[in-house]
């Protein structure tokens, strides 16, 4: 195995996994919150928020990466604030790759989860309220479990996107082996050099295998969740 892939490539695989996992985990709560707000509330500026969420989908990834660099770079307003306040540096770190992947996957995640919220019958939430449950508790014990399939769908889309994200990532955090070189960046690099296609293909296969594993796991999990909700039809 180690013969098949060089240490740099293994690093890229590990990094991509790490980035995808973190970006999925970190964006899930925010994505859920935004999806909830968009699904259940009417407020001025809702369209703006909705548009903002979709922006990374609409813009070419390079532009998103560039905007990230402007905002979250070490000289950018948010980036410098984060660095001064929390000592958190994003640009050219794997943490920045997490941010880029999270932002790029955000619209996919939010849309999926939002659909989940929209399909939950508010009557069940009402029933919980009459039993004495507060809004937060209802959300945690009724709404969330009912949208589990949608949450999983959102997480899978986010994870898959994070595994494949390239444009924004390479623009925002560059392509530094062992630090910010994700699988797609490594694939890109191989595609740049004469005769690199075979090496690229190997990485593509790994990428596909990892994502497939995540997909199958999520399918199983999701089916179990929805069987719980719907019962086994006799």
């Amino acid at each position: 195995m180690t013969g098949w892939l060089g240490p740099e490539e293994w690093q890229a695989v590990a990094l991509s996994l790490k980035v995808a996992t973190w970006s999925t985990l970190l964006s899930l709560p925010f994505g859920t919150l935004i999806a909830y707000v968009l699904a259940r509330h009417q407020f001025p500026g809702k369209q703006l928020l909705n548009g903002l969420v979709h922006l990374p989908l609409i813009l070419p990834p390079v532009v998103t990466g560039y905007l990230l660099l402007l905002g979250f770079g070490r000289t950018g307003p948010i980036g410098s604030w984060l660095e001064q306040t929390f000592g958190l540096i994003l640009a050219f770190r794997w943490t920045g790759a997490v941010l880029a992947a999270a932002i790029m996957g955000f619209p996919l995640m939010v849309r999926a989860i939002r659909l989940g919220f929209e399909s939950v019958d508010p009557k069940l939430e009402q029933a919980a309220a009459t039993l004495g449950a507060s809004r937060l508790w209802i959300f945690a014990t009724v709404t969330l479990p009912l949208i589990l399939p949608a949450l999983i769908a959102g997480a899978v889309l986010g994870f898959a996107k994070a595994m494949g994200e390239f444009g924004a990532t390479i623009t925002f955090v560059s392509n530094i082996p062992g630090q910010t070189q994700t699988l797609p960046s490594a694939i890109y690099t191989f595609l740049q050099i004469p005769g690199g296609e075979n090496s690229a293909l190997r990485l593509v296969l790994i990428s596909v295998a990892v994502a497939m594993g995540a997909l199958v796991a999520s399918e199983v999990f999701s089916r179990r969740a929805s069987r719980r909700t719907r019962g086994t039809p006799t």
């Binding site: 009402q126 029933a127 009459t130 004495g132 006799t234």
Partner: protein, 366 residues
């Protein structure tokens, strides 16, 4: 411990404009399909915010649209049994039942009352279903779980929207006494929607009759149910009177003797103590009138009475209002008989009542 409601809310073509007070005990909401019963229940629970009005619970304002007060649903702690069961599909039966447990608080009107899972599951006959998915339940089973879920949340008040409609008589006979016990021993106030006059007569402390969103009649159960004006609401078959009674004796042959103002009544053994007070309901159609005291008959209950008034409708029947002691009775006979017997206000007469026709479902302790 009383609920007072005074709300106005537009419902399409209809306007709900309802004001009533529910004292402790069971207040039943009665009315035709679409008359606004569920809407009132929802407003009381806080699930619907009426356009205008106030709802207060023993001094505590739950809703006052003028003052912009609106107590959130979960703080009202009014357990609601929905017309559609609304079980949580992601939880099994046991978890559905226990959902409200963590919010149950040992205060409130029914402070001493703490039903346990086992107790409630046994009562409702769902002990075997505890591990089942709610999707596999039958219609009646769902409804029973919904009742149990509301009971186990130990609410300050119970709101029940046709809770027994999907159940068979045998099952109803098991649940009704439990509700009676709740009413009589815990003081838990219950707002109860039902289409069944028998249920209303048996359970209700007071009755609110809704007609097209408006209160057509409200008052103590005895009064409303004995009101000849309400015959069209309850249906001819269900017209009758409710009499206060005292338990005189329990006899060895399984009969209980009651004293009403007009005399003695025998009916199947009741679970109440001698000297305790109760109510009996006598349907107008279960009374046979006789000008002379019948002999050699299976009827044990024969009360002397005086005719107060006769009301004929379009049909062949006549409603005869009687005084029997201090209580009013209603009897429904044919016009032909009334003429044959030459009934007139003031006539002395005998009301023949089959003891068994004062059946269990029509008797409530109270």
């Amino acid at each position: 411990m009383s609920l007072s409601v005074d709300i106005t809310h537009p419902l399409g073509d209809l306007t709900l404009k309802t004001a009533f007070t529910a004292p402790s005990g069971i207040t039943t909401l009665f009315g035709h399909s679409g008359s606004g019963k569920s809407t009132v229940i929802n407003a009381v629970a806080g699930l619907l915010r009426p356009r205008q009005g106030t709802i207060a619970w023993s001094g505590e304002t739950l809703l006052d649209t003028a003052k912009r007060v609106n107590c959130p649903v979960h703080k009202r702690r009014f357990g609601l049994v929905f017309q559609d069961a609304r079980l949580f599909p992601h939880l099994n039966v046991q978890r559905n039942l226990l959902y409200g447990q963590r919010f149950a608080r040992p205060d409130g009107p029914a402070a001493g009352w703490a039903p346990t899972l086992d107790e409630v599951a046994n009562l409702l006959g769902i002990s075997d279903l505890l591990n089942r998915h709610t999707t596999t339940l039958s219609g009646g089973e769902k409804q029973r779980v919904a009742i149990g879920r509301a009971l186990l949340s130990r609410p300050r008040m119970l709101l029940m929207d046709e809770p027994l409609a999907a159940l068979d008589n045998a099952r109803k006979e098991e649940i009704l006494p439990y509700l009676e016990r709740l009413r009589d021993h815990t003081g838990l106030p219950i707002l109860y929607v039902s289409h069944s006059v028998a249920e209303v007569a048996r359970l209700a402390t007071s009755v609110v009759v809704l007609e097209n969103g408006q209160v057509a009649r409200a008052g103590p159960a005895e009064e409303v149910l004995s009101d000849p004006q309400m015959v069209h609401q309850f249906g001819l078959r269900e017209a009758g009177a409710v009499l206060p009674a005292t338990i005189a004796a329990h006899h060895d042959d399984g009969l209980t003797e009651l004293t009403v103002s007009g005399g003695q009544l025998f009916l199947p053994r009741m679970q109440a103590d001698v000297h305790s007070r109760t109510r009996v309901r006598i349907l107008a159609q279960d009374i046979l009138l006789s000008t002379e005291r019948p002999t050699g008959t299976s009827a044990l209950n024969i009360l002397p009475a005086t005719v107060v008034a006769l009301r004929s409708g379009q049909g062949p029947g006549t409603i005869v209002q009687l005084y029997c002691g201090q209580d009013r009775l209603l009897a429904r006979i044919t016009r032909r008989s009334a003429e044959a017997m030459a009934l007139k206000p003031g006539c002395a007469i005998f009301a023949v009542i089959k003891s068994v026709s004062i059946a269990r479902t029509d008797v409530g302790a109270g």
